[in-house]
Amino acid sequence: MPTLSLSTPVNTALLLYLLYTVQRILFPRGSPPPADDAPTEFKKGYSWMPRSHPPVLVFTKYTPKTLEKYDGKTPEGGGRILLAIQGTVFDVTAGRNFYGPDGMYGNFAGRDASRGMAKQSFDVEMLTPLDQPLDKLTDLTQEEIENMKGWHDHFSNKYIICGRLVENDAI
């Protein structure tokens, strides 16, 4: 004769689990989490909100003096690396290997790199000293100007345009 005894521990445990699961199925949680306390991970809940907005840079006007600290080694620059070509300032922090302090083109960090881009040279002579007016680039050949524009386009596609370079007394 089959024995059906609920008093055995195994049966009791199974029965309790069964009742608990059935209760969860029949009476599901019916209220949304409060709006202030929304989960911040998608695994924690369906109506979740990310904790913060994606990072956005502000388009700023830089002068050669204010741009200089963004060379990746000065602490005031916050680790960002910027360089300027044809008056457009690019954020090249993603290319730290090239433009960082130890990079091949590290000279350009925090400076106006237009002449260097045009003449395809990374020498220090290509850089204009900080207190002088911006390089007018009038003595470049057409080919060099084309080269510089090509670099400008390359940078526009690869890095973020985050500002304009203006004269030291313009701000």
Binding site: V10, P50, F59
Partner: protein, 644 residues
Amino acid sequence: MRACCERDLFSTGEASDRMEDGEEVGGTRTGRVVAEICEDRGRGQTGRANQGAQKTATAGTGARIRGKEAGAPRRRRVMSLNSKLRLQAAGFTHASASAMALSDYLVTDDLTILLGLITASVFLLYNLYKPQSLVHPILLGRQSDVGRVRNPGESAVHRNYGTGLMGRFPLRPTREVQTLLDLVKPEYDAPRTLWSTKITNPQLRERAAAFGTGLLRAGLTHDSNVLLLLNDSIEFLITDIALASHSIPSFTLTSPSLLSSVLDNHPPTAIVIDAGFLPNVLELIYDTNELSHHVVIVVGEPDSKALEQAAEQIKLVRWSDIEEEGKRGEKLTSPTPDPNDVFTVSFYEDHNGQLQGAQLSHQNLTAGVTTLRGLLPLSNPLTALDTIVSAYSLSTSFGRAIAYTALYEGTSFATTNSTRLYKNDDVVVPPGLPDLFSTKSLPLPSPTIVFAKPEHLNALTASIISEAEKSLAFSFAWRHKMAGVLDGYITNQSLWDRLVFDGARTKVLGDSASTIRGIVVSGGTLDDHALTPTRIALSIPFVHAHTHPLVTAPRTPDAALAHVGPPTINIEVKLVGVDDAALEKGADPVGHVHVRGPIVGRLLAVSDDAEDGADAAGEEPWVPIGHNARVQTNGSFKVWPVGK
């Protein structure tokens, strides 16, 4: 066990060696007892082992007594033997007792098997049978693509994540659709009902061509402006298509109150008007004294009094006569318009109270159709079997886009009564349930997709829920539906729908309860709390969008204030006038909404707060739409009109 017995015997033997003869007897007896114990142990009978242990004890006592006489060392050895035996026997008892207890706990019987099976199946049911959410939650965290740079005082540019910042805006549904006429596909010739006319695409094109020819014969040219004061009907569509294909600009008004200012500022060459509205317009025309310039084309039969009155002063023609005229003889054609040509201007009143005109080009409309097609979930796109009912007048940009989407997809189409702008009585049909059902009088198949206003939606939700509350299982069903919505899953095929909600929906909606499969709401503000009850009551894909008279498609669709989701695929949005300091700290950007994209028409009059200088860059200028918005961290927008 054998070994310990032998050892005991051996030690017994040892002990007995040291004893005197008298004791030897006892030793032997001990040995015999030990042998018995070993036998018992071998057989595994606990009871007898206990007895054996007792015997050992007595025997041991006996031996002890004799051992006492023999001397201390012997006694000790005998005692150690006895205690050894006793301990071993006791240990055996203990072990077997706990073994008995454990197997007692684990005793399984048939109920266990039964319960085990039920529990396993319930466990699987609970964990694996949960319905999947319609949209994976990871997608909800990044709904709009945000630019990496922003100008000071503005937010970054937001686009739909599907389009992306680098993507180009889709301008047309397919490459061949360049102008408005192309939206009426000639190769598609299944009949469908537009308002109360059953017509196919080729027939529609025929009628439009005939009407266009008639218009040209009546004297209209490219330089004419035609003011359309028509209620939504197939004549409106035919007129619109005819004018567009001959590049004759048309004007429409979003509200009849704008009529006088438009007649003053932008006098049209011809007016196409509904017969019922004719007397009102005649008065205005007499006022402005521009009578000789006006040709008035009347749809329907004007009453005789107006006819007499008008015939003296202006050239009055019947719409049907023009079409007849056009059918006879050769069809006149014009060069194909360029998609960027403006074919219509929709006049509306902007947030500053100014009269504003939205210049719409063919491209705006085709881009608008593209956007609207993508509004509903991809798994159930619009097909020719659908019927679209719209609460937006064809005189508005959005209404026009909906109508042309319906035409393009080959669905049946009608608009509700509240879209009737031009009537001679002052009866205002409020948007509500009766209005929503006004299309039932038309010979139209049951509506499947509805473009409604928030008032319609609120009335619908309230009545469905009040009907459903009469059912017994309502609170239970609501709870389950709510749990589904919280997990991102809605369906109108579930058990709760069959039990509770289908009945309520049928009572409220009638036949369309079973056919309606999507609803798009825009044109006003919707409360956040209203969203979930709506989703539960209707259980169909529901899109909350934001539209603007200048824009041919919703600005921001969706799955306090309800959010409207990210920008649609065809538009980019930025907020102007944001607080930079708060933004740097991570707060939500809040500011005025500026939009740009192929669905944004061009403004006729320069608005006060429009941006200038953008034309210099060769790009389209950003257009302020008079609303403020806030962007949430997941890229969705909450929009409200300025001034609230």
